[in-house]
């Protein structure tokens, strides 16, 4: 998600209560325990099985985060082989292939935080897929993965000259004779500074500095053509010089606002929406101190007291990707089924096709009656299909309704459900209201357990992160 504050986007809500700024970023002490472990696995990844949660629950925040910060080297991640087979991949299938490939990677990667940050950058430095040239889209995705916890300034430079971005925001059409301002504007407004921190003149002058970058779509090659570049003097954010795009990025990152912008954005992504100015300032100071290296800053956030505070707990709305991957992951399923992609589209998150250059607005905006229906229907299908048989733990639930309900609530929701919901789970498992066999038994076990799992996952708690 692009860095948004409450001022920018409706439907983004800060939790009630007050921040204690004095120790907000201090390391959280002691062993995590089940709820905090599940919270960390959801926020720094896409959730975990009961066994994953149990393992992390024994660790301290520092130990748990250290293991999350170990990333898969970019060279060890290969593109989906179908994309490389033959001269021209099937264009219509290419985006589908990419989406399935990435979702499967989110589900199975040994480095979930890396994929979580890749998803973050996809929503932040937004581009839309070019279905005719799928490698361009893949390469941008790989760039985000490579810089998942790398240097933000360097990533901003790289993404500015990335083919997908040059195409999406018309940078490739930006030439000295006829500047195109689209990228120059969004670079400041949505990617690095936010509105009201630059002038219209800054947009025009920055556009001049970005002239000359060209894309050969077929070969996925980006080149700089000095003939098409405006080498003249530009006045930008109070400085004057023969600036190039790299200079523009350096000047932007020297603005105190830039660190604040990313600090707010990261807090929105990991902790809670509309973070307090004091919290933003503290994270912005960390970003500057580490020269915009993300690993130490994200590590500090994920270890911090504020991250584990009750105010941050379930204080975010799960995005559709978090909801879908989280469901598979929590159930212990290791492969997506056919229903995931259409379900994501109906929930309002089609990977590689963000609705606007601002990415997905998030917060309350994820939940309308239409998208809620899509969420519930996804669960109904998932739990009604054969995938259930592959769940690593669901089939091992005890037959006694009370203990089965207890374990379902614990494993799916860390027991974050209302008393009435628990009663419903137990009586559903016990066969209340059903004409069929009254108590849970071998004959009705699968049908009954999957129905109860649906009821548990349909509760409000499971919609929240």
């Amino acid at each position: 998600m692009a860095a948004q504050t409450k001022m920018d986007v409706g439907g983004i809500v800060r939790p009630a209560g007050r921040l204690d700024p004095s120790n907000a970023l201090s390391p959280h002490g002691g062993r995590l325990g089940g709820r905090a472990a599940a919270h960390l696995l959801r926020r720094a990844g896409f959730g975990g099985t009961p066994r994953d949660v149990g393992r992390v629950a024994q660790l301290t925040a520092t130990q748990a985060v250290a293991s999350l910060l170990v990333l898969t080297p970019a060279s060890a991640v290969a593109p989906p082989p179908e994309l490389l087979d033959g001269e021209r991949p099937l264009r219509r299938a290419a985006v589908f292939t990419l989406q399935s490939w990435w979702l499967n990677r989110m589900l199975t990667t040994p480095s979930p935080l890396q994929e979580k940050m890749t998803l973050y950058f996809h929503g932040h430095f937004t581009s839309r897929a070019t279905p005719r040239f799928p490698l361009i889209t893949y390469n941008q995705n790989a760039l985000f993965r490579q810089y998942a916890l790398g240097n933000l300034r360097e990533l901003t430079r790289r993404v500015s000259k990335d083919a997908a971005m040059l195409i999406y925001l018309n940078g490739a059409a930006n030439v000295v004779a006829h500047p195109n301002e689209n990228y120059a504007r969004e670079l400041m407004e949505l990617f690095t500074l936010g509105v009201d921190n630059y002038t219209e003149e800054d947009v025009r002058e920055s556009a001049r500095a970005w002239t000359g970058w060209q894309v050969n779509r077929r070969a996925d090659l980006v080149s700089f053509n000095p003939v098409l570049h405006d080498g003249g003097r530009k006045r930008f954010l109070g400085q004057t010089g023969d600036f190039t795009g790299d200079d523009i990025v350096n000047i932007i990152f020297s603005q105190p606002q830039c660190a604040k912008f990313f600090a707010a954005s990261l807090l929105n992504w990991f902790v809670y929406n509309d973070p307090e100015p004091e919290l933003i300032d503290a994270v912005a100071a960390l970003l500057r101190e580490h020269d915009f290296e993300l690993a130490p800053v994200v590590g500090t956030i994920l270890r911090s007291d504020v991250f584990y505070s009750p105010r941050a707990y379930r204080a975010l709305v799960k995005s559709p990707v978090e909801f879908v991957i989280g469901a598979y992951k929590t159930l212990g399923l290791s492969e997506l089924d056919y229903s995931a992609l259409p379900a994501l589209q109906q929930m309002g998150q089609r990977l590689f096709f963000p609705p606007t250059v601002a990415g997905w607005p998030g917060g309350q905006n994820w939940l309308t009656s239409g998208t809620m229906i899509a969420r519930q229907n996804f669960l109904t299908r998932l739990l009604g299909s054969q995938t259930l048989g592959s769940s690593s733990w669901l089939r091992g639930l005890p037959v006694a309704p009370a203990s089965a309900a207890q374990q379902l609530a614990q494993n799916l929701l860390q027991s974050d459900l209302a008393p009435a919901s628990f009663v419903e789970l137990e009586s559903y498992l016990g066969g209340k209201g059903s004409a069929a066999l009254a108590s849970l038994s071998v004959e009705n076990y699968d049908q009954r357990v999957s129905g109860a799992a649906y009821l548990a996952m349909a509760t409000p708690g499971f919609q929240l992160n």
Binding site: G10, A16, A173, N180, T368, A418, G451, G461
Partner: protein, 406 residues
């Protein structure tokens, strides 16, 4: 009487049969909707032409030589413009709209904008949707209209967004408006399992959760609304049969659903629909012409359908777009973000014609057209003359009304 039964009774005219097994979380015990003086049965359909519709290639100033000088690669040929008078005409794709114009059913307001234009899509969209150029507001102007008119929770379908995401214009402090992307995406499979459905609705009502979340109340409300509205809507509109051949485009499908909602008399006062994207930085001509053709054809079918059911005087359609575009074309045969542009009002209650002043291509603000009509004048007119509510509390100010409605 519970809401569900009230709605069914209102539609069918039949006596209500109580069905105690369908107990939803917000079962209704409230009185029916209050009528709005002079506006009974009226509905506003708001079409967002998102991305920034270029006004000059939409309502074309073909009598002005400067238009052709400033847009050598982009201007619409004089010969193909659908002339309204000697100075302006419509984009050649808009034949259906022109036919409605010739019947006196279209008002074109030229040069609409707002003070101190912001060229950001997001801020500018927000300004048009919240009707608040000077400060940030979290509610939309139609959301405030619902609150102000007292149209709260009694009727789930007092407003409908035909979109995946609830647009800001329908966000309010006290009401929940369903976003219905399409009817076939609006039913719960679990509804067919009576045991699961009833269990779901019972558990969705218990608010004693062992954690606090700023989104909890919203999630619970949406869960309850999703279940009850998905059960109700298909039944409520099942009796309506469309009598026009809608184009098989996104907008065509959206307006077909809008006509069905209007024709089913659910008490719906506002329907939001979107069409785009008009963000034409490169190769604008083909893209925009195609989008305008789709827009015009869908509107043509919509009013044909409405008229066949006697509803064309009940529905006012209003378009908006976050801004127009720069007067001069850029180097990519496209245009960058601009300022003022025209908007359309369509319907049997419209006083057709051209309003506002013709854009002056020489009196510009850094290459942008200056606006001559504040967009809030249009909203004020719609609120007072169409929806029958005072505009000032909704718009936080008084704006001049336009004589665009009969």
């Amino acid at each position: 009487m519970r809401r569900r039964n009230f709605l069914l009774a209102a539609v069918s005219g039949l006596a209500v049969v109580a069905n105690p097994e369908h107990v939803f979380s917000r079962a209704l015990a409230q009185a029916p909707l209050p009528g709005l003086p002079g506006s009974e049965g009226r509905c506003l359909v708001l079409i967002n032409l998102y991305g920034g519709n270029d006004g000059l290639n939409c309502v074309v100033p073909y009598g002005d030589d400067r238009y052709y000088q400033m847009r050598p690669g982009l201007a619409i040929d004089r010969s193909s413009v659908l002339a309204i008078d000697k100075r302006v005409g419509l984009n050649p794709g808009m034949r259906s709209l022109k036919a409605l114009y010739d019947k006196g059913m279209v008002a074109i307001v030229q040069g609409v904008g707002y003070p101190n234009p912001d060229h950001s899509h997001f801020r500018s969209t927000e300004i048009w949707q919240t009707a608040s150029p000077g400060s940030y507001q979290h509610t939309g102007w139609l959301g405030r209209y619902f609150d102000e008119a007292g149209l709260r929770q009694e009727n789930l379908f007092k407003g409908v967004a035909v979109s995946k995401v609830l647009p800001e214009v329908l966000v309010s402090d006290r009401t929940d408006i369903p976003a219905v992307p399409a009817l076939n995406q609006y039913s719960m499979i679990a509804d067919s399992n009576a045991v699961a459905r009833d269990a779901f609705s019972r558990q969705a009502r218990d608010r004693r959760l062992p954690f606090a979340s700023p989104y909890l109340a919203h999630v619970m409300e949406i869960e309850a609304d999703a279940q009850s509205s998905s059960e109700e809507l298909p039944k409520l509109i099942a009796g309506y049969k469309s009598r026009a051949a809608y184009p098989s485009t996104g907008l065509g499908r959206s307006l077909a659903l809008a006509a069905q909602i209007v024709g089913s008399n659910l008490g719906t006062k506002a329907i939001y629909v979107e069409h785009g994207s008009f963000d034409t930085h490169v190769s604008q001509k083909m893209t925009q012409n195609q989008l305008l053709l789709q827009f015009s054809n869908a509107i043509g079918a919509f009013y044909e359908d409405l008229a066949a059911h006697g509803n064309d005087r009940r529905v006012l359609t209003l378009t908006f777009s976050e801004f127009g575009r720069r007067i001069e074309e850029n180097g990519s045969r496209g245009t960058d973000h601009g300022e003022a542009s025209p908007l359309f009002l369509v319907g049997g209650g419209v006083r057709g014609g051209l309003y506002g002043t013709l854009p002056d291509l020489s009196a510009t603000n850094m290459g942008n057209l200056r606006y001559s009509v504040d967009f809030r004048s249009v909203y004020a007119t719609v609120l007072e003359r169409w929806l029958g509510r005072p505009a000032a509390p909704v718009l936080n100010g008084t704006f001049q009304q336009l004589p665009v409605l009969a």
